[in-house]
Amino acid sequence: MKKTILALAVMLTGLTSAFANNADEVNKSAQLSFNKDFLNAKNVSWQQNKDYAKATFSLNNRVMYAYYNPQGELLAVVRNILSDQLPIYLLADIKNDYSNYWISELFEMATEDQTTYYTTLENADERLILKSDGSNKWTIYKKEKKNCIVL
């Protein structure tokens, strides 16, 4: 399960794997589960790969993504958020400890067990990916130096 979630996180940061977009190819169990889980979903579209089905939809005018395994079980719900949607301690930590970085990406990944937030912070020199540990603190998930171009 952890691996699946991490894989989703990687995928969300842009390394998208191959999806089939044909509605007929989307797992029926996933579609049935989705219709029960998100009664008021609008603008639903599906993508399917060999490991999971992904529904893109809007709920209360906000775009989000739901991932289902081949058995139709909900793996995770993901949405991009703004910093003011973070729990206050996570927001305060970014403001206090990373004030010289800007936020280039921030998303919420929720499962039946827990909600985790991931954010990409950048400054001129480096890029950090932080992962929330509970709703009170961050851990560094990945840290990389930016390439320098010397003229």
Binding site: L39, I88, A110, T115, G134
Partner: protein
């Protein structure tokens, strides 16, 4: 006469300073400023002997934070909008309370646990729920609307 005037001036400055005093120690104040560095419009209140409550504006929202006399942050609460609720709570509410509207939502944190108090209403009743970020919800109050 000069001595009396000087005495009155000194006395009045002491009174003004006394009115400016908030009931918090430097330790508590420093702890607050470390935790919420960019807070504004801060007001302090003593809640009993050992609990001090700061009410302030933070990132355009109104927040309450309680500290003990040692400066330890005990709890926080802030009013939030529906969109600031965790996605699993939104999922649960749209499914189980489809015909209700949200009147008020509050994010609370105490003992390192974050939970959300959501008040919803429809034509018949008003319901308050204690919700957790995984979507679990406990009903804490239910009031029938008066006709």
């Amino acid at each position: 006469m000069k001595k009396i005037i000087l005495g009155l001036v000194i006395l009045s400055s002491v009174v003004v300073r006394a009115n400016d005093n908030t009931p918090v120690s430097e330790k508590v104040r420093q702890s607050f400023e470390k935790e919420f560095a960019k807070a504004s419009d801060v007001n302090w209140n003593a809640k009993g002997k050992n609990v001090f409550q700061a009410t302030f504006s933070y990132n355009n929202t109104q927040v309450e934070a309680n500290f003990d006399a040692e400066g330890n942050l005990l709890s926080t609460a802030r009013l939030i909008t529906e969109h600031q609720l965790p996605v699993m709570i939104i999922k649960g509410l749209t499914k189980d309370y489809a015909d209700y509207k949200i009147r008020r939502a509050e994010e609370c944190n105490s003992n390192n646990t974050t939970y959300y108090v959501v008040t919803l209403y429809n034509e018949q009743e008003t319901v308050s729920l204690k919700c957790f970020s995984n979507g679990d919800a406990q009903r804490v109050e239910r009031i029938k609307n008066k006709i």
